[in-house]
């Protein structure tokens, strides 16, 4: 049908409407260009991923995962202390970010209108755009400079700041998406607002909040910049958050810019570990999100 209509148009219309063939050809080219752009973006991920896997797989073995770095010239060594350091630093950051983020999210969801909540939302969005290196400077000024001592805790503090905006906005939205009728039902049954929030609203919103938490953890797992002058790095097994500590992404950075081929090889191994960790977290977040959507539509 469409072609016969255009055939009529081609013959009967004034000259300026002609050239449908050419317009179709241009559209075909344009669509091809758009497809090409989408493929370029997707292919660059596969290129980077493929290269990291190829370079990184050879570096990974049991010793790499469990040993501390060896000095230059001593073969072997690993990033075991960095993996443990990442877990400690990110763990503490999560423990600090979760209550503050959740409480602020509850506040914004329950007392959503007015100047104060609106400005808090704005501040939260501003914070999400602040470069991580500036947040690292804040952690340094607050927790490193006064004690003249680098510490894993100051790194956790910086990571907490990076996690908060995502947690705040997502938990607010998750809580607000819980139908008002559910809350009203709980209140009508005589529950206090406290119990209604803790026992009814939060569990309903839980999958969405867990999604946000996983994404926030994924985000800081890939962060390196604020660690340079907070966690600082370490060659040893260090588990005291008050001391400088190794961290996986920081080790990758240090090894990558070093002039030693053996360290550079280990950087690829570390990079592969980081990518796997971040992708697992992101995929987990996606699965949780799918569950959250299903839960709400039921």
């Amino acid at each position: 049908m469409a072609s016969s209509v255009s055939a009529i148009a081609e013959r009967d219309l004034p000259a300026r409407y002609k050239g449908l063939g050419r317009r179709r050809f241009n559209s075909f080219l344009g669509t091809g260009l758009a497809l090409f752009c989408a493929l370029v973006a997707a292919a660059s991920l596969l290129a980077i991923l493929g290269y990291v896997v190829r370079q990184g797989v050879g570096a990974i073995n049991w010793e790499f995962l469990t040993d501390v770095p060896h000095p230059i010239g001593v073969p072997g060594g690993g990033v075991g202390n960095g993996i443990v350091g990442s877990l400690i630093i990110i763990g503490i950051a999560t423990l600090m970010a979760l209550p503050v983020g959740l409480l602020t999210g509850i506040y914004l969801a329950l007392f959503g209108r007015g100047v104060l909540p609106e400005s808090l939302r704005f501040l939260s969005d501003v914070l999400s755009g602040v470069p991580s290196i500036a947040i690292g400077l804040f952690a340094y000024a607050l927790l490193v400079a006064p004690f003249k001592h680098f510490s894993a805790f100051s790194a956790s503090f910086a990571f907490m700041m990076l996690m908060l905006p995502l947690l705040v906005r997502t938990s607010e939205q998750a809580i607000r998406t819980v139908p008002q009728t559910v809350r009203e039902g709980a209140l009508a049954l005589g529950m206090s607002n406290f119990r209604a929030t803790i026992q009814i609203v939060l569990p309903t919103a839980l999958p969405a909040i867990v999604t946000a938490l996983l994404l926030a953890i994924a985000r800081v797992t890939g962060e390196t910049a604020p660690l340079l002058f907070t966690a600082f790095g370490s060659q040893f097994w260090e588990t005291n958050p008050g001391n400088p500590m190794a961290e996986l992404s920081l080790q990758v950075f240090t090894y990558a810019i070093s002039p030693y081929p053996s360290w550079q090889a280990q950087a690829w191994g570390g990079a592969l570990l980081l990518i796997v960790a971040v992708f697992v977290l992101s995929l987990g977040a996606r699965l949780m999100l799918a569950r959250a959507m299903r839960g709400l539509s039921e």
């Binding site: 989408a38 329950l110 400077l137």
Partner: protein, 321 residues
């Protein structure tokens, strides 16, 4: 979802009345948590300001346009880093906007369903790749490629302009811009796709009914209708490029010089902090570095506020970025 208005924010209905002692305590804890959050953000600003005060007091506004950065001679001027930051970010946003917007249009309006989902997924995963991995790849794959292939090719065609003259080191402004482009393409694509998808179907149908092809509809009707939001997506991506640290630090060459050539090594605000902060020995040196962080903070606040207002105006504020 009963209380959600179509396409807008769920309605606020304040039923919370906090009268019982338990509820009062609950409200107090909630207030305290939010107050702490607000304090942390204000603290960030105040600490950066306090930390840079010695430098601000000593150099005044000239800090921004002085081009000498020589810590040994106690000369601190931010211009080379501002130049490096602006040039790398411009390269990045020009490339990322072109690729990202077209990819978004394709994903929203053209791609068959079986292709749109996996492509979107791959592009979004690109955003999850850690910065240090981009840097590693940039240093060992992209920089040599720029030195041996992209650089000479550009120079043979455009070598007569100062932009593409001089020796090609591999690391430098161009490589930094390319890595940044790769890192911000997912931001441009994901948000633009949402914005384009939010444009009413009626507009597309009206345009097609008037005889436009699908492509003409996308370019002349849908994109113009979505332009504010798409522009906002680009500005937001630009904000990320300006503040990105580790990947750029690894491929920029780290030299505080202003040079017309895109092949020349340079420095950005973020990378000079990353590189020199732990080695800074004098108080004024540390303070100057913190002031670079303060500049970065201000720029990111302005850019992000702008971007969010634009995106909200089209798409609504509901999805977290």
């Amino acid at each position: 979802m009963e209380n959600a208005q179509p396409g807008g924010a769920p309605q606020f209905r304040r039923v919370a009345r906090f009268v019982s002692p338990t509820d009062r305590g609950f409200a107090a804890i909630v207030y305290a948590g939010s107050a702490l959050f607000a304090l942390l953000i204000l603290g960030l600003f105040i600490e950066l300001l306090l930390g840079s005060w010695p430098s601000i007091a000593k150099f005044g506004p000239a800090f921004i346009w002085h081009s000498a950065w020589n810590p040994i001679a106690n000369q601190f001027g931010a211009l080379p880093m501002i130049y490096g930051t602006v040039v790398t970010s411009l390269i990045a946003i020009i490339l990322a906007a072109f690729i990202g917007i077209l990819a978004a249009v394709y994903l929203a309006d053209f791609a068959p369903r079986w292709l749109a989902a996996p492509l979107s997924f791959l592009i979004e995963l690109l955003a999850a790749v850690p910065s240090v991995v981009y840097g590693l790849w940039g240093l060992f794959v992209l920089a040599p490629f720029v030195r041996t292939s992209i650089g000479p090719a550009l120079q043979s065609v455009l070598g007569w302009t100062p932009l593409f003259s001089g020796p090609i080191y591999g690391v430098g402004l161009l490589t930094g811009g390319l890595i940044l482009a790769l890192m911000i393409v997912p931001t441009v694509t994901a948000i633009s796709r949402d914005v384009v998808a939010a444009i009413p179907r009626d507009l597309r149908e009206a345009s097609m009914a008037l005889g436009s092809t699908k492509w003409e509809t996308a370019m002349r009707v849908v994109l113009p209708a979505a332009r504010v939001g798409v522009f906002g997506a680009c500005v937001l991506a630009l904000g990320r490029a300006l503040g990105e640290t580790i990947a750029v630090t690894m491929v920029i060459g780290n030299r505080p010089e202003i040079s017309a050539s895109l092949f020349a090594p340079s420095y950005t605000l973020a990378s000079v902090i990353a590189n020199e902060f732990t080695e800074a020995t004098t108080d004024i040196y540390i303070s100057a570095l913190i002031q670079l962080g303060l500049i970065l903070f201000f720029v990111s606040v302005v850019v992000n506020a702008l971007a969010r207002v634009m995106i909200w105006s089209v798409r609504g504020s509901e999805r977290t970025l």
